[in-house]
């Protein structure tokens, strides 16, 4: 962080800190976050794990929350949001602030959703999690989800974060806290959308704490508008035998960066992390994921499928760290990138850091073009080169998309992906 930028963050904070809701984050915590930022600085492209990120929008961003900057924004309506999914309670946030008119709570056994978390987790000291400090300092609301024992079917919650304000008016700070008691189960859908033409700046922070034997299925869709900047930090802790299925589909924003930090803190915990990212035109889709195996016998499966077209850059930097006590760790990484344009860039980077002997770690990483034999096969059946290429791109994402277990959500994502692959009429007909 340049001294000028650092000073601007501090100045902006000082100017509005009185107006920030102390109930969401206490003023002490906000102050600590700002101090930590001042000490550690914001990331720069020179930093090892930020080299693929487009950090330039930070230089122009206003860090104060949009919600306080523009209290009188025109309220969006239900029609601006994606269709509802049956059985899911919906909580919508506009520019980081809860929007009751767009939400519909639902009585579900064991489920509590509040705007204020009962207790905040300790801040991650991971250098890659620094952008979450901005969220901590400036947040205006929280979606705090707590699930106690769920005897029947899992609790089902959908969170929608809609960004309307432009980056020149401030930042939108989505903030989520998920706590699962032992054996609890939750299916969580988290969507990020923004005004289609608006250049919003979104900085979201998600904290997940999964109790022993609890199961969380978490779908994250980043569908921000074509001019938006979207940065995100997710920190999760898994207790013994906890299971976390995290599936992210990133198609939106001009510049996006997602940081995921999962700690396998209990023996026998299981993580399935699947990410699909599509970049076209000048888009930057950067993903960093660190999975730390701290306790024994935990399992991780990482799947990444990214497609870069036009002049886009799509990156996935997946690191698995196996600590000394994590004997019996089983981790698999399958990272694949597809170059679909002569000026596009794909960076897939598996990293392994192992401090114990008793592990099974496998990884495969490839970046390449469409397979010529597959392409010719489709052409030889009469498909046009454009349709054939689109079909193959589609097929490439299948390893991630096929893991979506909610049929309506899967259809929605398939249409979204088909739409992203430009001129999708011929593909949609196939869906």
């Amino acid at each position: 962080m340049t001294p000028a930028l650092s000073k601007r963050v501090l100045d902006e904070y000082a100017a509005i800190r009185e107006s920030l809701p102390a109930g969401v984050v206490s003023s002490e915590r906000r102050h600590e976050a700002i101090q930590a930022l001042a000490a550690r600085g914001l990331p720069v492209t020179r930093d090892e794990n930020w080299r693929y990120t487009n950090l330039r929008p930070l230089e122009r961003a206003r860090f104060g929350p949009v919600a306080t900057a523009m209290a009188a924004l025109p309220q969006p309506s239900e029609a601006d949001l994606p269709g509802r999914l049956e059985g899911f309670a919906r909580y919508a946030f506009v520019d980081g602030a809860f929007a009751p008119a767009l939400s519909s709570s639902q009585e579900q056994a064991g489920l509590t959703v509040r705007r204020l978390p009962a207790a905040l987790p300790a801040l991650s000291t991971l250098p890659e999690a620094r952008l979450a400090l901005l969220n901590e300092a400036f947040a205006t609301d929280t979606a705090a989800i707590h699930v106690s024992n769920t005897p029947g079917k899992p609790a089902a919650v959908e969170l929608i974060f809609l960004a309307l304000g432009g980056a020149d008016t401030g930042t939108s700070y989505p903030r989520v806290q998920v706590n699962l008691d032992p054996a609890a189960r939750l299916v969580l859908i988290e969507r990020h959308i923004s005004a289609p033409g608006g250049a919003s700046f979104v900085n979201s922070a998600v904290n997940v704490d999964i109790g022993s034997g609890a199961h969380l299925t978490h779908y994250r869709l980043q569908q921000a508008g074509a001019r938006a900047t979207w940065v995100d930090t997710l920190s999760a802790v898994l207790a013994a035998d906890a299971r976390y299925r995290l599936l992210a589909v990133n198609t939106g924003a001009l510049s996006a960066r997602s940081t995921t930090h999962v700690r396998m803190a209990g023996p026998g915990a299981e993580l399935a992390l699947s990410v699909a990212a599509l970049g076209d035109r000048q888009q930057v889709q950067d993903n960093f994921a660190l999975v730390e195996h701290i306790a024994p016998r935990a399992r991780t499966e990482q799947t990444f499928r990214g497609i870069a077209s036009g002049r886009a850059r799509v990156a996935f930097n997946g690191k698995i760290a196996v600590r000394k006590a994590a004997a019996g760790t089983d981790s698999r990484q399958s990272l694949r990138g597809l170059l679909a344009g002569p000026e596009a860039e794909i960076d897939v980077r598996p990293q392994l850091e192992i401090y114990t002997d008793d592990v099974r770690c496998s990884h495969g990483a490839t970046a390449g073009k469409l397979d010529d034999d597959m392409l010719f096969y489709l052409l030889s059946r009469g498909l046009s080169p454009e349709v054939a290429q689109r079909l193959l791109k589609w097929a490439f994402l299948e390893d991630v998309v096929s893991k979506i277990e909610i049929p309506d959500l899967r259809r929605h994502i398939e249409h979204e992906l088909a739409g992203q692959m430009a001129d999708a009429a011929s593909l949609k007909e196939l869906l």
Binding site: S380, G382, L391, L392, A395, E398
Partner: protein, 249 residues
């Protein structure tokens, strides 16, 4: 239907076809036999338009048109079908999607409306029964996890659904056990008609017991060394390719 005249083709600078001339009239079934490396697969691939083959001389006309001037997808829409020797697996592209997209591409080319989804599915299932294929294969990825025999059956299934004017089957018999060979041959035979031509590219005579050709050609070192009726295949079986190769040398 198909006229190949003095065709010369090189691959990576090496000449594989060295003046091949062959004519397949409408309604006939021709077998092209030959030893390994004689240029059989090159011929099949050149007709379908696979990239990587340089045509240095000669011509190929299909129904009076210059076939070599057409892109692979245009050839397919005009009614040329290649049954691949090694059909590629395409995980994630659903079999039935591909069939439908292929049929619709050809229909659009002819100015016809798209097929009705239900009628189409019924037709495909009907052809699948003919090919003794499990219906569950429809919803799988193209050739994904198929055995060698299943892949070949799937090629013939595609051919039956697409109803090409000219089908070139490249070693469709290789890797098949005798039961599968009969199924495949039966499928191919149902497509024989006075309006359609078939070119069977094969190494062995046994396929021709089940799909009886009108003419047999022996390809040696990039040229047709000998042509005859079906008895030529039997003679080849008896005397081996050395017999023709020796004559050609």
């Amino acid at each position: 239907m198909l006229k190949i005249d003095d065709l010369h083709v090189t691959v990576d600078g090496k000449e594989i076809l060295k003046g091949l001339t062959l004519s397949v009239p409408t309604g006939e079934v021709h077998a092209v036999m030959g030893p390994n490396g004689s240029g059989k697969s090159t011929l099949a691939n050149v007709l379908a338009g696979r990239p990587g083959y340089e045509i240095t001389a000669g011509s190929v006309t299909f129904q009076g048109r210059d076939l070599l001037a057409l892109a692979p997808e245009e050839r397919a829409r005009e009614g040329v079908f290649l049954g691949f020797q090694y059909p590629v697996e395409i995980p994630g592209v659903n079999n039935v999607y591909l069939l439908k997209a292929a049929v619709n591409a050809a229909r659009k080319h002819r100015g016809l409306d798209e097929v009705d989804a239900f009628e189409f599915l019924a037709l495909v299932k009907d052809k699948m029964r003919l090919m003794r294929m499990e219906e569950s294969m429809l919803s799988r990825g193209v050739n994904e996890g198929f055995s060698g025999g299943e892949k070949k059956r799937n090629e013939v299934l595609q051919m039956l659904v697409l109803e090409p004017r000219l089908a070139i089957l490249d070693e469709t018999d290789s890797g098949l056990d005798i039961d599968a060979l009969k199924v495949v041959a039966h499928g191919v035979n149902t497509l024989r008609s006075p309006e359609r031509s078939l070119v069977l590219v094969t190494h062995y005579q046994r396929l021709l017991d089940h799909i009886v050709p009108d003419h047999v050609h022996v390809l040696v070192k990039g040229r047709i060394a000998r042509s005859g009726d079906k008895s030529l295949a039997l003679e080849l079986e008896r005397r081996g390719y050395d017999w023709v190769s020796g004559e050609a040398a």
